[in-house]
Amino acid sequence: MRPRTRRVLELALEIAVPVVLLAIIWVWSASSETFYYPPLSEVLQRFADNWLFERFASDVWPSLRRMGLGYAIAVVLGVAVGTALGGSRLLRLGTAPVVEFLRSIPPPALIPFGIVVIGVGDSMKVFIIAFVCVWPVLLNTIDGIEGIDPTLKDTARVYGLSGTDRLLRMTLPAASPQIFAGMRLSLSLALILMVISEMVASTNGIGFFVLQSQRSFAIAEMWSGILLLGFLGYAFNLVFVLLERRVLAWHRGAKASALG
């Protein structure tokens, strides 16, 4: 009973803090005369007007699509190339300077290039998101593959495990804790880059909406967009953590049992 009571109390605390914060902002902003900080009630009103679900098809969906596509490309590419590089020291040595250079480029600097070469459409945005998100996945995959226990590799050889069987049942699962760490990092990057790419040469999307609202002095609208981005980031992370817990349940179990 006691640990359960404790869990309930902890959960209550987690919920109470944001609720209290919202209440404070609500009260504080209710009488606000400042142009830049409209009352929370107004922001929420705009939030409901815009996002439930008036602008879902016109702005939210295109944004999610870009982000999802870019992120998916980054994960697939990062894991595939990372697996190849992680398995070969020579390949790793040969590509290290290039990888280090490319990943050091501040991503927004690529937007002008993207516009010129790819155009102002979705492809450019997807490209920018994928280009930025690929590095954490790639580097973590390399790290994970490189760090596979030699005993495990010997085991695979002794039992004649090869090809896709070896890749899917040994190599990738063994590296999956690191791969997931990289994917998690990339997920927050994907959201950031989605917003940035939509603020330049764009005609729709949540990032476009926020900038456009500010330019037309619709400050409550702008805040509603920011609020939505915050919720989205929170939700993505939550979903990711739940997924990770499921997929890596063995990892947490093994770690816990190794600690005693």
């Binding site: 226990d149 005993t151 495990l152 010997d154 085991t155 050889r157 002794v158 039992y159 004649g160 495990l161 090869s162 069987d165 049942r169 040994m170 699962p173 063994a174 999956s176 063995w250 990892h251 179990g253 093994a254 816990a256 049992s257 190794a258």
Partner: protein, 271 residues
């Protein structure tokens, strides 16, 4: 069945070269249980890796049924000392045992039967859907043994398999491997640093010298099977063999002086 001819292994090159294995030759007959013992750090694991085709020897040959061993052969399975690192923690006991069977041409029913039989042979039927990290060390090593026997090898190599479990579990696992050998009709090569264990299990013992390793002596163990932890170990023959191997190893560890066992009591390191 398996023959090792003038095997040697040197790590590194030039000035920094370390000769791990000097010159080792011996043979393993069909259905034999041979134990390889030697002083700590005498290159037992290196020898085993060369024999299994995991490591290329610098010179000499390993032959299995007349053919050279260059890669781990299909007729061979290996049980590692570090069970926690050779089992796949993302797979259940069943998943681990079935893993090496996946690329063998078996239908599903046959495969399931092999797996369940092997898991039963090591006494883990009730744990087949657990994960390795939910089991104790001794049970994890049983899983590794089940995986090896389900693979249906003709020869099973074991690298100090019971070195990381407690003494009681160790005794149980020793008896288990003897039963498994009866049931599955396998040839077993068992590397250990435990002298009692080597005498208790084998019908022949290969005693090694310290690195660079050579064969010090090969002796027959004429104790009757089936063996028993209490009765076999009470036999005068057991005590005699044990003392003999002990002397060989102690002498070897003290640097090959003929009278070393009386001159250097500090070398009498407990196994």
């Amino acid at each position: 069945m398996l023959s090792i001819k003038h095997l040697s292994k040197t790590y590194g090159e030039g000035e920094r070269a370390t000769r791990a294995i000097g010159d080792v030759s011996f043979e393993l007959g069909e259905r034999e249980f041979v134990c390889v013992v030697g002083p700590s750090g005498c290159g037992k694991t290196t020898l085993l890796k060369c024999m299994s085709g995991l490591l290329e020897p610098t010179a000499g040959e390993v032959e299995l049924k007349g053919g050279p061993v260059t890669e781990p052969p299909e007729e061979m399975a290996l049980v590692f000392q570090e069970y926690s690192r050779s089992l796949l923690p993302w797979l259940s006991v069943r998943g681990n045992v079935v893993m090496p069977l996946r690329h063998k041409k078996l239908d599903k029913a046959e495969r399931t039967k092999l797996v369940e039989e092997a898991v039963d042979a090591v006494g883990l039927s009730g744990f087949i859907d657990r994960y390795p990290w939910q089991l104790s060390g001794g049970m994890q090593q049983r899983v590794a043994i089940a995986r090896a026997i389900a693979y249906q090898p003709e020869i099973l190599l074991m690298d100090e398999p019971f070195a990381s479990v407690d003494a009681q579990t160790r005794g149980d696992l020793e008896d288990l491997i003897l039963r498994v050998r009866e049931r599955y009709d396998m040839t077993i090569l068992f590397v250990t640093h435990d002298i009692d264990e080597s005498v208790y299990l084998s019908n022949r013992i290969v005693v090694l010298t310290p690195s660079p390793t050579e064969v010090r002596e090969i002796l027959d163990v004429d104790l009757p099977y089936p063996r028993d932890q209490i009765e076999t170990k009470e036999l005068p023959e057991f005590a005699h063999l044990r003392a003999h191997v002990y002397r060989l190893i102690k002498r070897a560890a003290a640097g090959e002086q003929p009278d070393a066992e009386s001159a250097a009591p500090q070398a009498a390191e407990a196994p």
